[in-house]
Structures are given as C-alpha cells and as structure tokens.
Amino acid sequence: MIKPNLSKEEKKLVRQSSRRTLSMSASFNFEKMQALGFLYAMLPYINHYHKSKEKRIEAYQREWTLFNTTPTCGPYITGTAGSLEKRAAEDPDFDPSMIETTKASLMGPMASFGDHLFWGTLRLVSLTVGIILALQGSILGALMHILIFNIPATLVRYYGGIVGFSEGTAFMGRAAESGVIDFVKKAATILALLMAGVLASRIVRLEIPYSFSFFGETTTLQGLLNQVFPGLLPLLMVLGAFALVKKGVQTYWVLLAILAVSLAGAYFGFLA
C-alpha cells in the first residue's frame, strides 16, 4: 500500500515537519485557528526549497491561511503541501495558488475522518479499558489509556507525513478507490461499539433495594433480574438515554433530573 521513494534528505525533512505538526493546535485561536501551527510545521520545507527571501515570504503568506484539522492527520497535509512547495520552487510554470486550494480541500475531510477515528472511536476504546481498570483502584488504567490511544496515533502521524510527501492527493484517490478508508472507518466503529457495550455492562448501575417474598424465599427485585438477564437494567438505561439524546434533549437538564431523582431516592431509601 505504501511505497515511499524518498531521498535521505527528504526523509529528514518529512520527519522534521511531521514532528512539528504535533503542536499544531498549541497556538490555536478563533480567527485563524491552526494557521500559525501549520506554518510552523511548514517552515522546514519552505526554508529548504525556497532560497530567496522574496520566495520564502510568498510561501509564508500562502501557508498562513485559516486552517483546522485533527492534528494527528496534520502530517499528511503538511507532507502534501511540502511536495507542492518543492514543485513551486523547481517548476516555474507551476501555479502556487494550487497549494492553498489543495490544503483547503484536504483539511475538511481529514478533520472529519480524524475526529471520527481518534476522538470518536479510538478514545472510547482506550477509555473503556482505562476506566474499568481504574474503577478497581489500579493506576494501570491511566497507563493503558495513554498507550492504547497513542500507538495508532503515532503510526498514522509517521506514515501520514511520508505518504503525503511522496504521493500527495493521489494517495487519497487510491485509498478511496480501494475502499481502505471506508474499511478503516468501519473497523474503528466496530471496535468502538464493542467497547461501548462493555462500558454499558460495567459502569452503569442502578440498585433498587426492594425486597419481597418469592416462592417462600425473600429476594430483591435486583437479584431476580440479575438471575434472568444480568445487566438488563443498565442496557435498557443506555438505550433509553440514547433515545433521549437522539431526540435532541438538552443533556444539562437530564443531568439535573438524574441528580434530583438520585438524591430523593437516597433520602427516602428507594435507591441505594
């Protein structure tokens, strides 16, 4: 899938720029968003390929435009823009305005892909493992959360830069055609849904200490439920909450309602 054909010098440049995309969001502001962070990551390419000061200033100007994407996907875009800066420096017929349009056309899809993959799915996977370990009082929870999240993120960052520089937008075309992007999205969603199911069975709890006599034995409603279908109540609660959220109910009010009911339940003893 990935067949980079880069010189040693180019590899160094890509690595340098990819490393700088880490801090893409660090100087985020509402007007230009990650513009300065993007320019910061582009400086190695620009200063390497453009020798005259005028050319450099032109390049700084076109790389400092409104920009916003998932930082983990940043290296692919800086890599692509970097290879175009190289063409702009070597080919006098090349229209540099193409760099801006390419950048702008990549940041949206990459942000939606990256937000879905990293903030929506991978984060849920690493958090599930982490939270459940932490609920047992183990510090391993925090460590697993960090590890599970960062290993894939680092790989995407590393190969993103190489692929961006060596293939540019052609890679996206190829990946879309072969269906690999759709498959990655699907695979990530499957893993996240599995973990959401695990979370539902582990962190959601509601105990109703209502006891009654059942075939001569004193039992609680909870105990009976657990015998028939362990975790039925949590599952129904999650599905109910999902229906509420999907309807667009303000979660703030739901939170307050939950708090009020819980406090009342604890005060009068019908919840524990």
Partner: protein, 263 residues
C-alpha cells in the same frame, strides 16, 4: 494541603496541560490520568485513581469537535480530586466539585484562546519581514503564556479553597453521598449514549450488543473484548478482499468498467 503541595500540583497540571496541546493531545491530561497525579502529590493515590475514574465517566462525552469549547473536565478532575482528598471524601465529592470547576476551566480555556487572537497582527508583520525565527518564538510563547491565568486560578482555588472548606467533609450527610453515588451510576448511561450518537449506525449496531453480551454474560475483560474485536476486524478484512477478488474475476459489466479505468 501544604503550600508546597499546592505549588507542585499547579505546576504539574500546567505542564501536563501544555504538553497535551503541544504533543497533539496524547491523552495525558484526561481525568483518568489527572486523578492519580493529584492523588500521588496529595499522598492518596488510590482515592485519586477512583476520583479520576468517576470524573472521567462524567466527562466521557465532552469533547470539543471542530473547535468548540466544552466544559473543561480536566480542570474539573484536578480540583474535584484535590478537594475530595482534602475533605477526606471520595469520588462522589470529586464529581460534584468537578462539575462546578469544569465551568471555571471552560472560561479560562476560552480566555486563553482569545488572548492568542491578539497575535495575528504580529504574525502578519513577521511574515512580511520574512522573520521565521520570530514566528517560531511566537508559536512557542502562544502555546504557554495564555495558560498562566488559568494556572493562577487553579493555585488560588487549590490552596485557599481547600484551606477554607477542607473541614466541611464531616458535615455532608450520608444520604447526599449515597445520592451522588447513585447518580454517577445513572449518568454513565447518558455518557455512553452521547458517545453512541457519534458512532451509531444501523448496520453496525449489533456490535454494541455483542460487546455487552461478551462482558455481561461471559465476563470477558475489556482488553479481551478488544483483542476479540481486532480478530473479528481482520476476519472481515479478509472476507472483503476475497469478495473483491471474486468480483474482479466475474466478467460483469461493473468489472469491465473498472478495467477501463485501471489502464
């Protein structure tokens, strides 16, 4: 909390917050991690871990997508955990204080982002001058300096706040703690629901139920379910490749079109 502990805590949280932004959100500044950090500094790591987990469940689905600013659960977790430990309490108190503190954190995050907007005119000038060294300096400065007001607020709340209400822990009635404990269990459902909204699709929903069954009935640990999931995904990938190879072999009209475009 001693002055030394408050200073240390403020500095560590500031560094973690900075590193979270500077290293593309490596998750080192999430409640799950901040809880134990606060616990270690205040000498009660286990309570820290538990408080961090409870806060994480509460703030599970609060992420800023596309540049929005949600209530800052990270600040919430730090102050919540610190106050809970100072008051001799547990996750219940951490969550309540964490919710209040998350709005303070949100304000300071918003403020820091506003402060950075002032840089744009300077950036324009440096670009016109072709001064890349100054641009780099500005990027570095802009990553750290606007976080200082929030850190100062953290310090004041940590040091004087715990001094002021540290002794109140004994006056909280038991039913309040029980009530919040119940609420945390229910809120988990809401957090998961918010996550589900991001990833739910009719076609794949069955995997949510599969994960639930594997955990509730077979008691497989989360990491085990994750490993099973990876195997499953690999299996699906293989099947997809095989289907594609078969489709390419069949001399249908669709395959013919593909050949046309493949040169």
């Amino acid at each position: 909390m001693s002055l030394l502990q408050a200073v240390l805590l403020t500095v560590v949280v500031l560094v973690l917050g900075w590193a979270e932004m500077w290293f593309a959100f490596p998750m080192i500044c999430s409640p799950l991690v901040l809880g134990p950090v606060v616990g270690l500094i205040l000498g009660d790591p286990v309570t820290g871990v538990l408080c961090g987990a409870a806060c994480q469940i509460f703030f599970l689905a609060s992420v800023g997508l596309g540049g929005t600013t949600p209530p800052d659960g990270n600040t919430g977790a730090v102050l919540g955990t610190a106050f809970a430990i100072a008051m001799g309490q547990g996750p219940e108190v951490a969550v309540v204080i964490g919710i209040l503190a998350s709005y303070i954190g949100q304000f300071f995050f918003y403020l820091s982002t506003q402060l950075k907007s002032g840089d744009n005119r300077k950036i324009e000038r440096y670009i016109r001058e072709g001064n890349d060294k100054a641009l780099i300096r500005l990027h570095w400065r802009s990553a750290l300096l606007p976080m200082l007001p929030g850190a100062a607020a953290n310090f004041i709340l940590l040091y004087f706040g715990t001094m002021f209400i540290g002794g109140w822990g004994a006056y909280i009635p038991d039913w309040v703690i029980t009530g919040i404990h119940v609420a945390i269990g229910i809120v988990g459902a809401l957090s998961i629901a918010q996550f589900l909204r991001m990833i739910w699709s009719k076609e794949l929903a069955v995997y949510f139920f599969l994960g639930f069954l594997l955990s509730a009935f077979l008691h497989i640990a989360p990491i085990g379910v994750l490993a099973l999931g990876l195997v499953l995904v690999y299996f699906l990938y293989q099947r997809e490749q095989r289907d594609k190879a078969q489709a390419a072999l069949e001399p249908s009209s669709a395959a013919g079109e593909e050949d046309l475009f493949n040169d």
